[in-house]
């Protein structure tokens, strides 16, 4: 069980997050929605363990993967190396299979700069799933994609989540995305003490 118990998070003296408590069961997919700038990405960073400057406690598994808003690839390493460097235990065949699942099997030796944005996003997704994470965190993974590419990405994500069944927490602005992927939708709302969960 992933347990999030945040009392507060400040940037200098400005409160960003107030008291936020929720659990994510193994295999459960939770969407986080709320207005822009309210602190959704900040909350994800705390859950991911990138930012430890907050009051509270988060129990999380060791095997975490994150899909960022931008593909966030290593542009100086090939597509295949982008998978294998972050997952040193991954065999070459497994890495090729991971690329094949996202339709990039013929792009193993290409640099990320040679891929379209949609392909870079798919590589980012393949990288996240290649390590078979217990917790998958996604920060607006389908933002700034055209409708067709976004649909392909959502379907791919849906299939990969169904296959590996990780606990998933993702931020989205789209209620339809949230309804489609998540079993539970959490909404952040602003208060004087920082953002808290609605309801």
């Amino acid at each position: 069980m992933i347990r999030i118990a945040i009392q507060s998070k400040h940037f200098d003296t400005v409160p960003v997050l107030g008291e936020i408590r929720f659990d994510i069961a193994p295999g459960e997919c939770v969407a986080l929605v709320g207005p822009s700038g309210i602190g959704k990405s900040t909350l994800l960073r705390l859950v991911a363990g990138i930012d430890s400057d907050f009051i509270g406690q988060i129990d999380r598994p060791d095997a975490i993967a994150m899909v960022f808003q931008e593909p966030t690839l290593l542009p100086w390493r090939s597509t295949l190396q982008n998978l294998m460097l972050l997952h040193p235990g991954l065999e070459s065949e497994a890495a090729q299979a991971a690329l094949q699942k996202v339709g990039l099997s013929d792009k193993g030796s290409a640099f990320p700069g040679q891929l379209s944005l949609g392909q870079q996003r798919r590589l980012s997704l393949a990288r996240a799933f290649a390590g078979k994470p217990d917790l998958l965190i996604m920060d607006e993974p389908f933002v700034s994609l055209d409708a067709e590419t976004a649909e392909t990405m959502i379907a791919l994500t849906e299939a990969l989540i169904a296959e590996q069944n990780p606990a998933t927490l993702f931020v989205t602005h789209s209620h339809s995305e949230a309804q489609r992927l998540a079993q539970r939708v959490l909404t952040l709302r602003a208060t004087a003490e920082g953002a808290v969960l609605d309801g």
């Binding site: 990138i50 960022f68 966030t72 290593l74 100086w76 390493r77 460097l85 972050l86 997952h87 040679q114």
Partner: protein, 249 residues
């Protein structure tokens, strides 16, 4: 061979022509010999082993100072770029050392340490560290925080993070510092040798300066320029092309 590839060669031919014209107008080989006047002298010095001995001595000093200045300057610049606290402390030092004339550091090192090889290399290294640190600090400030987060989330090992995440981002800055560094370092090494060593191109230039032998001054100076051009074209430029290969795809 395309026009672009020929241009550097034509440019150097132009410089030689300019030199020939100036030598012709001066009409005094003691003041300005022609490039052809230097060839027999070059041959004699090469055959006697003198030229190689002094070239080797200078090159060794350049290599030592370059390696030390690049290593220390990169580490200092990186830490300053990553920690605002350290930067606040070290920035005034950087400004002072950047503005300290090379000659002052050389003289002080010779006075404090003595006319030794150590003093010569330390003097050159101290002169170059601030420039390297300045360039690498900008590189460290420009590091992508998302890649940092990526490395943390996927628990990359320290070595892997350094090799695959940090160094590739810093490479253009390190390359710029290295190329500027080599050019500056060898000039400072010559001054160091001129003032207090008994070997090296700088020492030979000092010797022939006292004998008012312009031809030999040019033989030694141009020989070392050729060595540095080889270093630039055979080592630095190919290395820079290799590390920035991914940018050109």
């Amino acid at each position: 061979m395309t026009v672009e590839r020929l241009t550097p060669f034509l440019s150097i031919c132009g410089l030689l022509l300019l030199w020939l014209a100036a030598a012709f107008l001066t009409d005094d080989p003691q003041i300005l010999p022609t490039p052809f006047d230097l060839l027999p002298l070059f041959g004699t010095e090469l055959a006697s082993g003198e030229l190689l001995h002094h070239l080797g001595a200078t090159l060794l000093r350049v290599l030592w100072a370059f390696a030390l200045a690049m290593t220390l300057g990169t580490v200092i610049g990186f830490v300053m770029g990553r920690s605002e606290n350290v930067n606040r402390w070290l920035d005034p030092w950087l400004v002072i050392f950047l503005n300290l004339p090379a000659l002052v550091l050389i003289v002080l090192c010779y006075l404090w340490i003595g006319l030794s090889e150590t003093a010569a290399i330390i003097a050159v290294t101290l002169n170059k560290i601030p420039n390297v640190a300045l360039v690498v600090r900008e590189g460290a400030r420009a590091l992508d925080p998302n890649l940092d987060a990526l490395a943390r989330i996927y628990r990359m090992s320290g070595w892997s993070r350094l090799r695959h995440v940090l160094l590739p981002q810093l490479a253009p800055f390190i390359a710029a510092a290295a190329r500027g560094g080599v050019a500056v370092i060898w000039k400072i090494v010559l001054v160091v040798e001129f003032l207090g060593r008994s070997s090296g191109i700088g020492f030979q230039i000092h010797l022939y300066f006292q004998l008012f032998d312009v031809a030999m001054v040019l033989v030694y100076a141009l020989s070392f320029i050729c060595v540095m051009l080889v270093v630039e074209w055979a080592l630095l430029q190919p290395w820079e092309r290799r590390v920035s290969r991914w940018r050109r795809v």
